[in-house]
C-alpha cells in the first residue's frame, strides 16, 4: 500500500457538524493516527451509533457501518469475530455509549476484542437539540430538564476501570497531538480500548471556556498497570486528567475464540457427516 497522508484518509464528504464542533478535532486526530500507523483502508471498518458523532464513518476512507442507537459495540464485535484481520474502530457519543448502549460495555470488557472505542463525550444530546446526557452535570438546565437535572453524572473512566476494560484513556478534542497519540496507542493495544474524548458541543453545551483550566495530563509517574491508582486519578474531583489511565494486555476475544475452535479439534474439513453420527 502506498503511504497516505492524513488528508488522504478523509473522504470528500462534508461533515454535518456545526462549525466549532469538537468532533472535527476527533476526526483530524483519527486521520492523523491512521496515517501515522499506515493503516490499510480496505482492511479498516469504522462503526458508529446514532448521534452527531455517529455520522463519522463515511468521512474516513475505509469501510463504514452507521448502525442504530446504542448498538455499535455488538455490531463491531460481529465484524471483528467474523474477520479478525480487520482494524475495527467504534465511535459514538456519550448518550449512545453510556445511556442507551451502556449495557453492552461490561460485556466488551469481559470479552476484550481488539476494538478501539472512541466516545465523543459532550454531556448533551446535540442531535435532539440539547437534552442532558449521562455525563451532563447535576442541575443542568435543558428543554427536558427546565428545573435542572436531578441525576448526577456518571464517571466514564471510573466505570471503565470498574469493568476492567483493558485500555482506558481520556482525551480532549482541543488537544489534537495528544489525542492522536492516544488513538495510535489504542490501535496498538491488543484488546478492547475505550477512549473517552471530551468533545464539546458548541451549540447546546459549550464548555470551551470552562474546560481548559480543569484539564491536566495524567502524571508521568502514573503506572498504567496499577488499576487502583488509576481509580484514584479517575475519582479526583478537582482535575480532569487526560491520558492513559490503565493498560493491561490479556488474551483477546478473537484469540480465545480461536482457542475454542482448536479445542474442538477442527480439521478445517467440513465434518457434518461425522456430526450426524451422534444422532444415529
Amino acid at each position: 500500500m502506498p503511504k497516505m497522508t492524513a488528508a488522504q484518509y478523509k473522504t470528500k464528504i462534508e461533515p454535518v457538524w456545526c462549525p466549532g464542533c469538537g468532533d472535527f478535532g476527533v476526526l483530524n486526530a483519527i486521520c492523523n493516527a491512521l496515517a501515522a500507523k499506515e493503516v490499510d483502508p480496505k482492511n479498516t471498518v469504522f462503526v458508529s451509533g446514532i448521534g452527531c458523532s455517529g455520522r463519522l464513518p463515511p468521512y474516513v476512507k475505509s469501510y463504514g457501518f452507521h448502525t442504530v442507537h446504542g448498538r455499535v459495540l455488538p455490531i463491531a464485535t460481529g465484524i471483528k469475530v467474523a474477520n479478525p484481520d480487520l482494524t475495527v474502530v467504534a465511535v459514538g457519543g456519550d448518550g449512545d455509549a453510556f445511556a442507551i448502549g451502556g449495557g453492552h460495555i461490561p460485556h466488551m470488557a469481559r470479552r476484550n476484542p481488539s476494538i478501539v472505542y472512541i466516545v465523543m463525550d459532550n454531556g448533551t444530546y446535540g442531535l435532539t437539540k440539547g437534552q442532558a446526557s449521562p455525563t451532563g452535570p447535576l442541575g443542568m438546565k435543558t428543554g427536558a430538564s427546565p428545573y435542572g437535572t436531578i441525576e448526577p453524572p456518571l464517571n466514564p473512566i471510573a466505570m471503565a476501570l470498574a469493568y476492567d476494560i483493558s485500555f482506558v484513556a481520556r482525551g480532549y478534542s482541543g488537544k489534537n497531538k495528544e489525542l492522536e497519540a492516544l488513538i495510535t496507542r489504542a490501535m496498538n493495544h491488543r484488546g478492547f480500548s475505550l477512549i473517552d474524548v471530551i468533545s464539546p458541543c458548541i451549540t447546546f453545551y459549550n464548555t470551551y471556556k470552562e474546560l481548559p483550566p480543569q484539564l491536566a495530563a495524567v502524571p508521568e509517574t502514573h503506572d498504567v498497570k496499577d488499576r487502583a491508582k488509576a481509580f484514584e486519578l479517575a475519582l479526583k474531583e478537582d482535575k480532569i486528567y487526560l491520558g492513559v489511565f490503565y493498560e493491561n494486555e490479556r488474551p483477546t476475544f478473537e484469540e480465545r475464540l480461536r482457542g475454542v475452535v482448536d479445542q474442538s479439534e477442527s480439521s478445517g474439513i467440513p465434518r457434518l457427516d461425522e456430526i450426524f453420527l451422534d444422532f444415529a
Binding site: L73, T77, I79, A82
Partner: protein, 580 residues
C-alpha cells in the same frame, strides 16, 4: 404394518423424559419411524412430565397421532391425567407400588412394581426407569440389546458399577414380566429390518441445516425453547471453524449477526418471542442496509412471558411486520423435523441471494419433539453465496445499485476500491445519505421488488390430497404433517379435500394460492395454533376478486397443544357437509 402411540407420564425430574428418549432411540436404531411429543413443566424439578412416542414400521409419521395405545404411568397423577386418552383395548402399564387404577374392562392392565424392584433388587430408586424399559422390551418386543447399547453409550463414562446397576435393573424388569404377567394385548414393536434412522429434535435438525449451509457465526441469548440451538451449536460449530457467542441480550445477538454479515460471513441467531421482540429495531437496520441474516424464532405461547414450555403459532404477524416503517423481509415456516434441516438451507440461500433478513418460524412443539429421519446426503446440498461486485462494478462502486432484479453487488471489507458505509439512514444507490421523497420511493420500491424473486422459487408451497378439491386445508408451519394425515384419512372416506401448505409465509405467495383456490375450491379451512386466526386473516386479505366468495373458516386453537388428526378430520367433514 404397525403404528402405535406410547405415552410415559410421571413426576418431572425423575427420568420420565429420558426413559421415553431411550425408548425412542432404541426404536429408531431398529429401523422404525418415530415421532415424539412432550410436555413438561417450566420448572426444572417437580411438576408433571410427559413424553409420547409414536412408533411405526413403515409409515412416515406425520403427527403425534390420535389417542394412546400404551400408557406407562409412573404415578397416580400420570394415570389421572392420561388414562382417558388411552384407547379402548389399549394397554396400561403402571407402577403398582405407587397406586392402583380403577377397575374397568376397557383396557388391558399390567401392574409392575417398578419402585419396589428398583429399591429391593438394585437398591437405587431411580433405576425404576430402567426397570420400566426392561418390562417394556419384554412386553412389546423392542430388543433388550438395543437398550443395553444405549445405556452403555450414556452411562459408560460413569464407570462399570453404574453400568452394571442399570443393566441389572433392565434385566429385573424383563424378568418380572416373564415370571408374573401373561401377555393379553397385540402390541408389537419389532425391528423393521431397515437402515437405522437418525433421531433428531427439530432444534438439532435446524442447527445441522445451518452448519450445512455454511454458518460461521452464531450469536444468541438463552431462552426457552431456543436455548438448545445455542447449546448444540456451541458444541458443533467450532468443529467446522465457526464461532458461537452467548451475548448479553438478544439485541446484541442480532447486532453480532449483522456485524458478521457485514464482514461477509454467514451468521444467524435463534430466539423465542420475548427475544424476537427485542430484535425488531435491528431487524429494520438489516432490511435498510440489505444484509443477509437468518433469525430463528422458536415460538412459544405469549404474550409477554406467556407459557414458555408450550407451543403457539402466534408470532406470524409479528414476524411479517415487526419494526417501524415498512421493512420487507422474508418469513419461512418450518414444517417438520426433516424440513428443519432443509428449510435452514433454503433460509440461508435466500438470505444470501436476496441480501435480506430471513425469519424462520418454528415453535416449541417442533423445536423439542424428535423424529426419525434418513441421514441427509450432504454432497447434494446446494449452497449459495451473495453477489459480489465485479472488477468493473468496483471502480464506481454502488452498494445499492438498482439492477434488473434489484439485487445489488455487496462488497465486504478487504476488497479494494469498493468502500462504502452501510447505514440505517435512507440512502442513494451509491450509499450516500439522502432525504428526498423521490429517492425514498425509489429505494423502498427496490427493497420491496427484490423480494418478489423469492416467490419464483420452485418449492414455496406443497400440495397434498385431491388436486382439485372442493374443500381445501391451508395451514402453515408445523401443522403440515397433521393436516396431511387428516387429508389422507378424509380422502380415504371419499371426501373431496386437498391441502396446500406454504413454506414461504412472506412475501405472501398470493398468486399460487389464488390459482389453487380458483380451481373450484368452495371452502377453505385454516388450522393454526393461535387465538385470533392470523394466517386466516392474511389469506382473506389476499384473495383475488374471483375467489372472494370462497368461505374461509378459521380453525384457530390457543392453549399450547398441537392438533391431532381427528380434530382436523372432523372439521373437514363439517366443511364437506355444507357443500354436499
Amino acid at each position: 404394518m404397525s403404528d402405535y402411540v406410547f405415552r410415559f407420564g410421571g413426576e418431572g425430574g425423575e427420568g420420565v423424559i429420558s426413559t421415553g428418549e431411550l425408548f425412542t432411540t432404541a426404536c429408531a436404531r431398529s429401523g422404525l419411524e418415530i415421532y415424539t411429543f412432550r410436555s413438561y413443566p417450566a420448572e426444572i424439578k417437580g411438576g408433571h412430565a410427559m413424553i409420547q412416542v409414536r412408533v411405526a414400521d413403515k409409515n412416515i409419521l406425520l403427527s403425534r397421532g390420535d389417542g394412546v395405545d400404551v400408557l406407562v404411568a409412573f404415578n397416580k397423577e400420570a394415570y389421572d391425567r392420561h388414562y382417558k386418552e388411552l384407547k379402548d383395548g389399549g394397554v396400561l402399564v403402571f407402577d403398582n407400588t405407587d397406586f392402583l387404577p380403577d377397575e374397568d374392562a376397557r383396557t388391558i392392565k399390567y401392574p409392575i412394581p417398578f419402585n419396589k424392584i428398583a429399591m429391593e433388587e438394585i437398591g437405587v430408586r431411580l433405576t425404576k426407569n430402567m426397570v420400566s424399559l426392561g418390562s417394556i422390551s419384554e412386553l412389546f418386543g423392542v430388543p433388550q440389546e438395543k437398550f443395553k447399547e444405549l445405556i452403555k453409550e450414556k452411562f459408560g463414562k460413569k464407570g462399570e458399577a453404574v453400568l452394571e446397576k442399570n443393566f441389572k435393573a433392565l434385566e429385573a424388569g424383563a424378568r418380572y414380566v416373564k415370571e408374573n404377567l401373561k401377555k393379553q394385548d397385540k402390541v408389537k414393536v419389532q425391528p423393521a429390518g431397515r437402515q437405522p434412522r437418525l433421531v433428531l429434535s427439530g432444534n438439532e435438525s435446524l442447527s445441522l441445516g445451518a452448519i450445512a449451509s455454511g454458518l460461521k457465526v452464531y450469536a444468541g441469548y438463552p431462552i426457552t425453547p431456543a436455548s438448545s440451538i445455542l447449546e448444540f451449536l456451541a458444541k458443533e460449530l467450532p468443529k467446522v471453524g465457526g464461532v458461537v457467542i452467548q451475548t448479553e441480550d438478544e439485541i446484541a445477538a442480532l447486532g453480532v449477526v449483522l456485524g458478521a454479515s457485514f464482514s461477509g460471513k454467514k451468521a444467524m441467531t435463534a430466539t423465542s418471542g420475548p427475544g424476537f421482540s427485542l430484535m425488531t429495531e435491528m431487524l429494520g437496520l438489516a432490511v435498510m442496509a440489505e444484509f443477509p441474516a437468518v433469525i430463528v424464532n422458536a415460538q412459544r405461547a405469549g404474550p409477554s412471558t406467556g407459557m414458555p414450555t408450550k407451543m403457539e403459532q402466534a408470532d406470524l404477524m409479528m414476524s411479517i411486520y415487526a419494526g417501524h416503517g415498512e421493512a420487507p423481509r422474508v418469513v419461512l415456516g418450518l414444517t417438520s423435523v426433516e424440513d428443519c434441516f432443509y428449510g435452514m438451507i433454503r433460509a440461508f440461500n435466500i438470505a444470501e441471494t436476496f441480501q435480506t433478513p430471513v425469519i424462520v418460524l418454528t415453535d416449541q412443539g417442533l423445536a423439542q419433539r424428535e423424529a426419525s429421519i434418513l441421514k441427509p446426503d450432504v454432497t447434494s446440498i446446494e449452497v449459495v453465496e451473495r453477489r459480489k461486485p465485479t472488477a468493473e462494478e468496483m471502480t464506481h462502486y454502488q452498494r445499492f445499485k438498482i439492477t434488473p432484479d434489484n439485487i445489488s453487488p455487496m462488497a465486504v471489507p478487504g476488497m479494494p476500491d469498493s468502500f462504502y458505509s452501510a447505514t440505517g439512514i435512507e440512502h442513494t444507490e451509491a450509499g450516500e445519505l439522502n432525504y428526498e421523497p423521490a429517492n425514498h420511493n425509489k429505494m423502498m420500491n427496490k427493497r420491496y421488488q427484490k423480494l418478489q424473486g423469492v416467490l419464483a422459487l420452485p418449492w414455496i408451497v406443497k400440495t397434498y390430497g385431491l388436486e382439485k378439491p372442493e374443500v381445501a386445508v391451508i395451514g402453515w408451519g408445523s401443522g403440515e404433517g397433521v393436516i396431511r394425515e387428516a387429508v389422507e384419512i378424509a380422502n380415504k372416506e371419499g371426501l373431496k379435500v386437498g391441502a396446500l401448505h406454504p413454506k414461504i409465509l412472506w412475501p405472501f405467495p398470493s398468486e399460487i394460492i389464488n390459482n389453487y383456490l380458483a380451481q373450484g375450491v368452495k371452502r377453505v379451512i385454516v388450522p393454526e395454533l393461535n387465538f385470533s386466526g392470523q394466517f386466516a386473516s392474511l389469506l382473506k386479505s389476499h384473495l383475488t376478486h374471483g375467489n372472494r366468495n370462497i368461505d374461509v373458516v378459521s380453525l384457530a386453537k390457543g392453549g399450547g397443544i398441537p392438533w391431532t388428526p381427528s380434530e382436523i378430520v372432523s372439521k373437514i367433514k363439517e366443511a364437506a357437509k355444507v357443500h354436499a
